[in-house]
Symmetry: C2
Subunit: 209 residues, 2 copies
DNA sequence: TCTTCTGGGTCATGGTCATACCCATGCTTG
DNA sequence: CAAGCATGGGTATGACCATGACCCAGAAGA
């Protein structure tokens, strides 16, 4: 994950393109709409999620600066499978077919990293399927906690609702599970923040059968 | 789906490669192992699935001739996320990094269809996540039935176990759901086969909220 | 300061589905 | 034709988790 923070190959895509700024909470693209562009996120973070007709949402991933967004739907030419919203203020350039063709013709070596990037998305989604098929709610929560990049002071800044949306359980269940973890001495809760006090134990729990 | 049956761009990958034959049930690659090749399926069909430590299996997709297999793990260089086994007798060529590099250098126009193919995999997995997050078991089963290519006589050749593994429910639940569908007059059951007697009604059920 | 809002904790209730049995049926092989 | 085995189907039980309801605490805004 960390190596993606280096200069990405996507810089070539963004050349001469003026980025657009998105305010926190602003929609970047909407599930079901035509995907004639994809995005290269220059700064900020954004969430992509799928939503049901009843309004339930399932967060697929949180994109950070340097990531691509919406490439999958773009490449296979079908409607967007997910929506994306800015979490923090974001700057992103959008790339259309004409531009991609041009850049890819000029820099064919870009194809491999793009395939690699798309493959990572496949892996991410496979993990979701694996989790929902085989892991109970508490393990899914544990794994999600371990996947969040902590703040400098070690705090995991997230609400129960967010965790629930990410792993596919209700807010209530998250609350119950976190209570259990606290009782085990694996974490401590602050206001809208969590602190792992025994990450090793939590990890052991998360990855046992 | 049907257009994939035409001549695929992957023929270029297979040139001068001698295909290997897999007997029905034979393992093609194993979840968790290193992914130093991927496969181009020339004939037959194969299933890819993820499995838990307890032996439960979740079928992700059934590959047919003309498909690629195992590209995702190959491209991001991590262990295989799924296993694959031959369903019928299969012929497939395996492509390693050295060969891919060579072909891609000679035919850069191959990159786009590969991106497109990988993107379809992303969509497929997103549908799995969507289904498991938002759809009850009976709708998932209905959708799966509608997605099976029927035999010439209209029969859907599948066992309850297969259906269950594909949509992530137990054999028992499949049995219960199919019983309900039969009672509704939407389908008729034969030995190891199903016949849709009112596909329209089933479709309506499958795609209502 | 008072109000409002959002996030968090907890309960009872119920739905959904897995598990573990059991039995029925129809291929299949000796 | 018989035995054997795999598949299909039924049922009771219980685990798991969502739902709706309610209350509380801290933050934010007037």
């Amino acid at each position: 994950m960390a190596e993606r923070r280096e200069t990405t190959p996507w810089a070539l895509l963004a050349q001469d393109q003026s980025p657009r700024t998105y305010a926190p909470g602003q929609l970047i693209y909407l599930q079901g709409t035509e995907a004639d562009t994809f995005f290269y996120l220059l700064s900020g973070s954004a969430r992509s999620y799928i939503s049901s007709e009843t309004g339930d949402e399932r967060v697929l991933t949180t994109h950070r600066s340097g990531d691509l967004m919406g490439e999958a739907a773009f490449f296979d030419g079908c409607p967007r499978v997910s929506s994306a919203v800015a979490v923090t203020e974001c700057r992103a350039v959008s790339i259309d077919r004409e531009r991609l063709d041009r850049v890819l013709r000029a820099h064919p070596e870009l194809a491999l990293p793009m395939l690699q990037y798309l493959a990572r998305t496949v892996r991410l989604l496979s993990d979701h399927v694996d989790g929902m098929s085989f892991r109970p709610a508490d393990q899914r929560v544990a794994r999600y906690l371990l996947s969040i990049p902590p703040e400098p002071n070690g705090a995991l800044r997230c609400t129960h609702e967010e965790i629930g949306a990410a792993v596919g359980v209700s807010r209530v269940t998250v609350s119950r599970v976190l209570g259990e973890f606290t009782r085990q001495g694996w974490l401590r809760t602050g206001y809208r923040a969590l602190f792992l006090t025994d990450a090793a134990a939590l990890r052991a729990f998360a990855f046992t059968d």
